[in-house]
Amino acid sequence: MSWAHVGTVILAAFLASLVEFVEALTIVLAVGTTRGWRSALIGAGAGALFLTVLTLAVGPALQRIPLASLQLVVGVLLLLFGMRWLRKAILRAGGVIGLHDEAAIYAKQTAALARHSGGTPPLRARLDRVSLATSFKAVTLEGLEVIFIVIATGAGGLLAPAAVGAALAGSLVILAGLGLRRPVARVPENTLKFAVGVLLSAFGVFWVGEGLRFPWPGEDLALLGLIAGFTVIALLAVAAVRRSAAHASPVHVRRHL
């Protein structure tokens, strides 16, 4: 196992988890600001606890699955997940669909929660079911994605480096959340998703190949080749989408990447 491979695993897990943690933080911040911090934090904590129990329950079972089967299954899921991200990032970069805007999502979520409370002041003294459920759902869903990312990127016996990458991302986002008390809007999310889509797609192809026992030229170094290949393909796709959008509506094409 080369350092290039370990470094790529840490980077992929860090970047992919960063996006998920930012999305969870946006919702928890919206809930906390609108309806009070107690229920929002209890909901988020319950979500984190649920994920911990799930990981402890499922983690040991993963070790009993033969490595080639695990690599194949994880590779397929990773390809579906990564290419979905990459497709969306390409379409966003090409101006075909709108950018993901954490500030706008925060504002929308805050308005929806304020409407739900019927204009009354936020509940601070007792537990608020809406806050609990919203925070719990956000942390659980985004956290499930983080767990999947860690398992997927660390599928070749590199779970520890992948977990380190995710933990670093989580710590960074939590610190930013504590400091800012508002959404981390400055994260260039589409650029991150573009990079993560490339990394996850490359890992997906690599693990599927390993699972099917294809001998990769250069072994682990083939991963770097796949990353370069997907980057080139994705950049070509962005250029093609921009060109076609410019033909359709020359005035409205904006550069998003």
Binding site: R84, R87, P215, F230
Partner: protein, 70 residues
Amino acid sequence: MNAVATALRDLWGLFVEDASLTLGILVCLVIAAFAFPALGLRDAWRGPGLFVLLAVILLENVRRTSRRSG
């Protein structure tokens, strides 16, 4: 029950957004697993071959989506 259905829908959405892209990826994987060996493609070319198939699927999907929205 409603919460479970929502959770399952969200989980499904993690992997499937555009059905044609998902189907295309799965077809590529089936080709790589069964057609490559049957066609006698050399071992060392099977991984790169899979990458090329997936790249074509991605480019075609993005081109089609962009045309549809334009």
